[in-house]
């Protein structure tokens, strides 16, 4: 008997199992996610984007955030960020069409992220108001390392794609073929491994700046 069969037999022996009805089990599992408001936290504000930003800037998440009306204003926002922090105007730009289409004149732009990259500009598919998280899917436009190598990570997300809860992200993608990686990123990299005290910039970015573009399609959190 293979190890696989031996383990499965041991499990079945311990559980005293007959055959299981997969559909019934799925219903039972789904029922465990009923009434989600009872088991998840309240949002920090009524509006989704407001709640998202409020969470992003809490000390726990320790990101910074700003809003712009249109994606075309992103290069100017990046320029302000660079200037305020005295950074060189060189950026690793995530190879996402929406970013590549913008006018980056005045910047030294490259699309490969160096191991010691200072600033990378990226695009997140979703924002999550509950946790202040950004969601990325690995694909042709999204190298995963670009989210982890730079010291400063500046991320654009559309207000219309800010979801209330992590569960809403799961629901929005249920049934689709998952990407190799889903990155749910919440604030900058941190560690509490030395005496429990939080230090940012452990291996990933030390600074996360989120630029929210446009208005939410639905302003209510519910």
């Amino acid at each position: 008997m293979s190890t696989r069969e031996a383990i499965l037999d041991a499990v079945r022996g311990a559980l005293g199992h007959k055959t299981v009805d997969g559909a019934a089990l799925r219903r039972e599992a789904d029922a465990l996610l009923a009434d989600l408001p009872a088991i998840r936290p309240d949002l920090l504000a009524d509006g989704l984007v407001e709640a998202f930003i409020a969470r992003l800037v809490t000390p726990k998440v320790a990101a910074t955030a700003e809003r712009i009306a249109d994606a075309r204003e992103l290069p100017a926002a990046v320029a302000r960020y660079v200037e305020a922090r005295g950074l060189p105007a060189a950026i690793a730009l995530q190879p996402a069409a929406v970013l590549q289409a913008l006018d980056w004149s005045g910047f030294d732009v490259h699309d490969r992220v160096a191991p010691d990259e200072t600033l990378a500009v990226g695009f997140a598919r979703w924002g999550i108001a509950e946790t202040g998280s950004l969601v990325f899917h690995s694909d042709a436009e999204t190298p995963i390392l670009a989210n982890f190598l730079p010291l400063h990570h500046l991320v654009m997300v559309r207000a219309s794609t800010v979801l209330a809860y992590l569960d809403d992200y799961a629901a929005a993608t249920a049934g689709q073929r998952p990407p190799r990686n889903v990155n749910i990123i919440t604030g900058a990299s941190g560690t509490t491994d030395i005496e429990g005290s939080l230090v940012l910039g452990a291996h990933g970015p030390r600074y996360l700046h989120v630029v929210i573009v446009g208005e939410a399609t639905d302003q209510s959190a519910r």
Partner: protein, 469 residues
């Protein structure tokens, strides 16, 4: 290691005599306890969430065969290769073989308690494969050549001063300034190129998602993604109890896990890994292997420890344990310390070797109170004591003492007489309200006074009063 040959009590004495260790433990567990308390005060839904989390895990465990097969099917469909290991040895052999097949000279590892449990660091070292621990705490453990002492903060036994000294000695470009920030920077510099030059990445999984075949890691440093993305091969080792039906269930568990562990609402990086690199992907491994590990879990299912399979490895039980907070994790002698470790180590290492662990607990119930999946840890620990008693592992002196106690306590007349005699003997040794120098009381009086009894027992005096009424 010398430590391993000592008895639990000897290891405990050594830990209690180490003031630096106590400082280190207090700094980390104290911070963890405070942050968890704040997180709980901001999450009034915790009790309901915890009940739900418990039910989710119970549901999975009650249908574990089904979910294992569903996970396997979906993982294979995503392009992953799935392996099954019955024991720790089998699991680490599979990993070492995969590393060798990949021609690996250097592997990077993401902290995983299961990896520790199956002895993976040792197996890789034995196989002559360079192992780079990328979690900061595991990096500190590796530099120090010792073992993790906590499941969330493996290097909790090191003070910042000790870490600073090690980094200065062993890093290529160590920090100049004596701050934790500067030390973290030093590790960042030290590990950077190693992330990018490894041949194989090895991680654990916080959750296995049955309906997609994805594995989920949670980290705060970002080391999991930096580790698992560049190499050509990514190997995941995971216990079979890590399953959840779907991502939605993982999210419900995540809310409990992170608040209980660090007091954050969610980890900085929560990543789902599904199969190898897909067509068009800019980066990612070409091979994705998942090793499903039993190593005692089906035995736990069979032998009355199935509630323990709910454990999501948050560490709250140890952060709140009065015994752990005096001793730290190494004293427990196994992979897992604290209350959850005292339940698991007898499964993994055998009760005979670890019978002290279930006893070294005051049964105060705090661990159960803070457990995010409501594991009745004291009950499970008492279960081990019961088993140890039945298997004859308890010392003869204890068996005799409790036998005598029961003999008298079942015979009230004799019991009164014995009590009266005991009181009179104790009073012979009493000075100024306390008992001094009485044989048999040394374990107590070595450290604290033993308050002397009153002249007569309650029952004696009560009977006399009643007779006079």
């Amino acid at each position: 290691m010398e430590e391993a040959t000592l008895s639990f009590k000897a290891r405990a004495e050594r830990a209690l005599a180490d003031p630096t260790l106590k400082i280190a433990i207090d700094r980390t567990t104290g911070t963890a306890e405070r942050k968890r308390a704040v997180a709980m005060s901001q999450f009034p839904q915790f009790d309901a969430a915890r009940e739900r989390g418990k039910r989710i895990k119970d549901h999975v465990i009650a249908n574990l065969d089904h979910y294992l097969l569903e996970f396997e099917r979906n993982a294979i469909a995503s392009g992953a290769k799935v392996y099954w290991a019955a024991t720790a040895g089998e699991a680490s052999q599979i990993v070492v073989r995969l590393c060798k097949e990949a021609g690996a000279k250097r592997v990077t590892r993401v902290k995983s308690m299961l990896g520790e449990e199956i002895g993976l660091p040792h197996a890789l070292d034995e196989a002559g494969i360079e192992r780079v621990e990328t979690d900061l705490a595991e990096h500190i453990v590796q530099l120090g050549g010792d073992r993790p002492s906590h499941i969330v903060w493996p290097s909790m036994h090191r003070t910042r001063e000790q870490v600073s000294e090690m980094f200065k000695r062993l890093h290529r470009a160590p920090h100049q300034e004596e701050t934790i920030e500067a030390m973290v920077d030093s590790a960042r510099r030290e590990l950077r190129d190693k992330f990018l030059s490894a041949d194989v990445a090895i991680s654990g999984a916080n959750f296995l998602i049955a309906d997609t075949g994805a594995t989920c890691t949670v980290t705060n440093e970002g080391n999991a993604e930096l580790t698992t993305t560049p190499p050509r091969v990514h190997i995941v080792t995971a216990g079979i109890e890590k399953l959840v039906p779907s991502m939605g269930h993982a999210i419900a568990m995540l809310r409990l896990l992170v608040r209980s562990a660090t007091g954050a609402d969610v980890t900085q990086y929560t990543t789902f890994h599904c199969g190898p690199k897909q067509p068009g992907d800019r980066d990612g491994p070409e091979e994705f292997h998942i090793v499903l590990v039993d190593n005692g879990r089906t035995r736990m299912l069979r032998e009355g420890l199935k509630e323990m399979l709910r454990c999501i490895r948050c560490g709250a039980c140890m952060n709140h344990c009065v015994v752990f907070r005096q001793l730290g994790g190494h004293v427990y002698g196994g992979t897992y310390p604290g209350p959850m470790g005292a339940v698991l180590t007898p499964v993994l290492d055998g009760l005979e070797k670890s019978r002290d662990l279930p006893h070294a607990c005051t049964m105060n119930g705090k661990c159960q109170e803070v457990c995010p999946v409501a594991i009745p840890l004291p009950t499970l620990l008492r279960g081990w004591r019961d088993r140890s008693w039945r298997e004859g592992l308890e010392p003869a002196s204890v068996r005799f003492g409790l036998g005598m106690h029961a003999f008298f306590a079942l015979r009230p007349g004799l019991y009164r007489m014995a009590t009266a005699i005991a009181i009179r003997v104790m009073r012979l040794f009493s000075r100024g309200g306390v008992v001094r120098g009485m044989p048999g009381l040394g374990a107590w009086t070595a450290y604290r006074e033993f308050p002397a009894p009153a002249k007569r027992s309650f029952m004696e005096m009560y009977k006399e009063q009643e007779n006079q009424r």
